[in-house]
Amino acid sequence: MVFIWAPLLSLAQEGGATRSTACLDCHDSDMMEPAFRDIPAHWRKSWHFQNSISCHDCHGGDPTDAAMAMSPERGFAGKPQYSEVPEFCGKCHIGILKNYLESRHGKALKASRSGPHCVTCHGSHRIQKADINIIDEKRCSQCHTYERAKMMKQALFATEKKIKDVRDSLRELRAAGVFIEEEEKTIFNTEAEFRTLFHSVDVSLIKDRSDGFVKKLEQIEAREKGVFRELEFRKNFSAFLTLVFLGLGAVIFLLSKPPE
């Protein structure tokens, strides 16, 4: 029973990543035209890749069968039209789609077919985890002045910072061996709700709702503080027991009778 670990070499795979697909096999190939050959490399640096979201999850098709990988019969949707990008991404990001379509950005896109959409800010394949730094002068002043975007960023700033602080504490707790799945679910849902709200690009709405988010985050923070205090107590209690046993050992040693 001591000789157990060789088969793991064949069992182990990269954590979180998907296996090779028909899509990747073609797009990684030297035969593919350069513009499409870069796509897998971009995707592998994305947040989607880290969460095991692959080509067919967005574009459809059959990833296991090269002949059917781009078949409409297997749901292949290809590259969406410019004005249909929000609905393309909104297949999964439903709440964001709703807020976006009600926003000035969404109305501009539908009216003129040329407003900003998901890819404008997030990119298409090298999508990164959303954060406040997506709002920058270069990106946001393509159609209007940066002033409005700057006000948006300021409205988001405090909540964004709190989210970061809570996540950092959760990371510390996880490293300390505490099981935090409930708290991680809560922060994930709160963060998702917060990010969804941003897509309304309505500063007054964001300011109104921020208090609610901050309260939820403060509740998580309070629980985190409680856990940190408990961990500190456990450390001190165990250290006390260490000293007790060391002391007992020392006493026995000092009082011990020498051999005849």
């Binding site: 001591v2 069992l11 450390k235 165990s238 250290a239 260490t242 007992l248 009082l255 009778k257």
Partner: protein, 364 residues
């Protein structure tokens, strides 16, 4: 009051004679060193595991839906549940270390030789049972580490043709690790293995007491070694009293053991808990890096070095047989390993190889 109790016991079991023959007049050899206390430390470690295990048993639920959650409840909701759980987890690793050190010191002192072959064999089996405890207990939290480690362990018999698949299915109770496996390992961990180990402890202690404690093979005590041609209890009339001399030695080593345990719990609480140990089991997600516990790392690394799985497993089984039956491989009468350079070289080389493979396995 104490006098009355003593008198009551004296009439019924001859308490004075018992204390005199087993404690105050029972002699241990001169030159007995601190390594001789490792046996009692191993026994205390096992008792600690039983006591903490009992408290865990009150709250643990051996079911795939609830096992992980029940362990988290022990850690976060049961008053001082965290202490019992950590004592049990840290204690299991310390117990393996103590048993290994005990066997190394017995080997070094040549205390496995005639007439103590059975003592060695019973001890070797107890080491294997300790490792079986560790393996069966590993699955019970039903974490990612538990699930995948057990998947790998139970696939080992498949190295052998024909019977291998059958043995694997028997261990798992099916094709894959599941709730059936959990129940089997739970039954093994809390009933069969403890009973077996207690039986072997009884045999081992009986043999130690019946034959007598062996004297260190170095110095003056070694001059009085005799040839065994008939049974005789090995006395040490010029030795030290078991009580209080050896008992006090045992006591402060025991205190050091528990101090070490609580030191680890206090300052290194995640030493034996990688992240996968704190993530619920997910049969659809294989962790990127699975490594065994430190006491299996040498075997793990050795298997990585041997290209053929059947050959690797067979070599390790052969080594295990040699280990258990070692007294029959080394039948020379000389107990002092320092007088036997080839054996000393084999001992040191094996130890260095084991340590080297362990470190290599950790960082590979």
């Amino acid at each position: 009051m104490t006098g009355k109790i003593k008198n009551w016991l004296e009439i019924r079991i001859g308490l004075d004679e018992l204390v005199r023959t087993q404690l105050t007049e029972y002699r241990v050899p001169r030159g007995i060193n601190i390594f001789y206390t490792l046996g009692i430390v191993a026994l205390a470690a096992f008792i600690s595991q039983v006591v903490t295990g009992f408290f865990l048993l009150i709250y643990y639920i051996p079911d795939t839906e609830h096992a992980f959650g029940s362990v988290q409840d022990i850690m976060s909701k049961v008053p001082f549940g965290w202490l019992f759980r950590l004592m049990h987890a840290v204690g299991s690793n310390l117990m393996v270390a103590v048993v290994i050190f005990h066997m190394l010191s017995v080997f070094f002192m040549g205390s496995y030789k005639k007439p103590r072959e059975m003592t060695w064999i019973s001890g070797a089996f107890m080491l294997l049972m300790t490792l079986a405890f560790c393996l069966s207990g590993y699955l019970l939290p039903w974490s990612q580490l538990s699930y995948w480690a057990t998947t790998i362990v139970t696939s080992i018999p498949t190295a052998f043709p024909y019977a291998g698949e059958f043995v694997t299915r028997m261990m798992r109770g099916g094709e894959t690790v599941s709730g059936i496996t959990l129940n089997r390992f739970f039954a093994l961990h809390v009933t069969l293995l403890p009973l077996l180990l207690i039986l072997f402890i009884g045999i081992h202690l009986f043999l130690v007491r019946r034959i007598g404690i062996s004297a260190p093979p170095f110095g003056k005590a070694a001059e009085k070694k005799k040839t065994w041609i008939a049974f005789a209890h090995e006395d040490h009339p010029d030795g030290h009293a078991f009580y209080p001399y050896f008992v006090q030695k045992e006591m402060y080593v025991l205190m050091a053991y528990f101090a070490l345990m609580f030191f680890i719990i206090s300052f290194l609480p995640t030493l034996f808990f990688p992240e996968d140990a704190n993530t619920p089991a997910d049969q659809f997600k294989t962790p990127a890096h699975i490594k065994p516990e430190w006491y299996f790392l040498a075997a793990y690394q050795m298997l990585k070095l041997i290209p053929n799985k059947l050959l690797g497993v067979s070599i390790q089984m052969a080594l295990m047989v040699v280990f258990v039956l070692w007294p029959f491989f080394d039948t020379k009468e000389e107990e002092n390993i320092l007088q036997r350079p080839p054996l000393l070289a084999v001992f040191l080389l094996s130890l260095i190889t084991w340590v080297g493979l362990t470190i290599w396995g950790k960082y590979s």
